[in-house]
């Protein structure tokens, strides 16, 4: 098996998607099939072949350190699901405070 149901459940959690059991049942075998197929890339002899992350060959594309007008707070908050005191209101955050 290329990937187990548990691994799929773990990846879904990592990706913040609350998959139902039915979805997991359905998705796991599909992913198993897909991963087996895409694993084909490992057949390719690629010793010493550099990976390509950018196809254009461009380097050093920069901007000057000059300010440009930005959004107004109203625009920024316009479609927020919840707003309070000029900020985005979000449900309580668990986890470490940095």
């Amino acid at each position: 098996m290329a990937i187990t149901r548990d691994e799929v459940a773990h990846l879904a959690r990592l990706s913040r998607i609350e998959l139902t059991d039915a979805e997991l049942d359905h998705l796991a075998p599909q992913l198993d099939q897909i991963i087996t197929a895409v694993a084909q890339v490992q057949e390719v002899a690629a010793e010493g072949i550099p990976p390509t992350s950018h196809a254009t060959g461009l380097v050093n594309v920069f901007r000057d350190d000059e300010p440009v007008p930005c959004l107004t707070p109203a625009q920024a908050l316009d479609q927020a699901p919840a707003v309070e005191l000029g900020r985005f209101r979000v449900p309580r955050i668990l986890g470490t405070e940095d």
Binding site: S53, R63, P67, V68, G86, V90, R92, L94
Partner: protein, 488 residues
Amino acid sequence: MITDRYSPVIGLETHVELGTRTKMFCGCTTEFNRDHNGQVCPVCLGLPGSLPVANKKAIEYTIKIGLALHCSIASWCRFARKNYFYPDMPKNFQISQYDEPLCSDGYLDVVVAGSTVRVGIERVHLEEDTGKSLHIGGATGRIHGADYSLVDYNRAGIPLVEIVTKPVDGTGELAPLVARAYVTELRDLLRTLDVSDVRMEEGSLRCDVNTSLSPVGSSVWGTRTETKNVNSLRSVERAVRSEMERQALVLDGGGRVIQETRHFHEDTGTTTSGRSKEEAQDYRYFPEPDLVPIAPPAEWVEEIRASLPELPSARRTRLQAEWGLSDLDMAALHNADALDLVDATVAAGASPADARKWWLGELARRANEASVELAALAITPSQVAVVAGLVAAGTLNDRLARDVIDGVLAGEGSPDEVVAARGLAVVSDSAALTAAVDEAILADPDAVASIRAGRTGAIGVLVGAVMKATRGKADAATVRSLIEQRLG
């Protein structure tokens, strides 16, 4: 002592907010804005469809920092995405650098207790800052127990340089001081480079400290913990010390140190465990496809190198030689954070000795009393130079000079204005002085007798009487010699 049984290894991770005019990947201003979410745009808000474009100045500053830390500058490197979910991160990934930092493999020398410790620098890389959350409903405004949070993205996207040291071992009981000295020296360096205003209290310089202990003689390093919320130089020292103590206790008791993130508390000077993670974070780093690689041309790097100002350590060496100071004297200046002040005072005309005397003496005392930093006192180096000059010229004696300083600190004006207003000039009119001396002699025949009998210490009594009579406005040395003259 802990360090009889255990060898500490420390490491520091510092984040520096760069002082560029705009954010790292967009043209939003970085200047303080009173409106929440008033300095955001589609890019730093991470709106669907937005794309980052790298700020050239931020890259220049990062290379500058790397060069000042004796690092190698990458000839080709990329940004990478660090993927994790958190509401203060608009894209739920942070654009950072992973295995290709812009600068790597350097060092920073720090002097602690008279010896030099070379702190290795692993890497210096560039990334973007997150937004800020306000936690509502909890007891102390902290995250635990909060009901909900309010997020402001003004800070999101501000350029951040991360500087990571190599592990520093062999410091023994000095570990806490080394940690503090490193952050201090780094801060001074960054300030000299003018790339950030490096204020720990304001968050433009943030420090995480890693600490581990291993049994003396063991070649295996212990488990390290990471301590966050270290917001001042003093806290750096205290955090390391506290962790060393805590870990020693655990190990002494036969326990295991857990690898975790801990939170430093200013009030208690101790650390508590952060939320322990069930699983280590997998950030799934991969090269950032929306940004093309950085390949700084050699000429540009050399241009930046040529533009480096005199670095703090070089400056200290030069000044120590110029001023003829011992290592100890120099260290005293450095530890008191008085170097810049003394240097400026000398530049304003005072002698190094005088400048040091005032800043490390009277002014340090005042600063301590008022619980402020030396630099925060309401007197400038040039003003101190003026006061020193007045003393050298004989217009003031030490006692009067202190009064003048009082006046300046109290906001009464410049030294000259205070002297005039308070009438603090030394009495140098010899007739008046002679008269005062004669009076004192007449008033204290016992002292006179002692002096004549060879107990010259008694002169001091008469000097004191004259000083009292002139309300301190005489020059003590002059008074003494007058007395000697009078009594033969």
